[in-house]
Symmetry: C2
Subunit: 78 residues, 2 copies
Amino acid sequence: MKARVVVTPKAAVLDPQGAAVKEAMQHLGMPEVKNVRIGKYLEIDVNGDGAEMEQRLHKLCRDLLSNPVIEDYQLLKE
Amino acid sequence: MKARVVVTPKAAVLDPQGAAVKEAMQHLGMPEVKNVRIGKYLEIDVNGDGAEMEQRLHKLCRDLLSNPVIEDYQLLKE
């Protein structure tokens, strides 16, 4: 199974990295940029499949790959 | 327009961060993990739309958001 995990800062959390990229894009010829948010992207190859595997992946997403206090994650299977 | 950009290390490039996460996942109850690769994820809100805007976004992806020597990017429009 191939899983993709996207970890993004929660909407209420400041994202200074995103703000810096927004400023840079605006100065490099794209003043139309309104907002940028930056997160992490993980591609995970796993042997096996099934609901139990997915449940364990969700647990690892919460415990290891994201900080649930300030981040949300999305788990996409392929 | 909302654009999502995913920046990942090229296949031939070592990804020590991904290797560390793989090890951690294997030790935290998921020995089935074969490979992990880690990249960046950007959500960009832009005023406007169209092919010319997309072309400029691609240019910024190459010049600012990714390092074409070691990274690939994917631009997804919404």
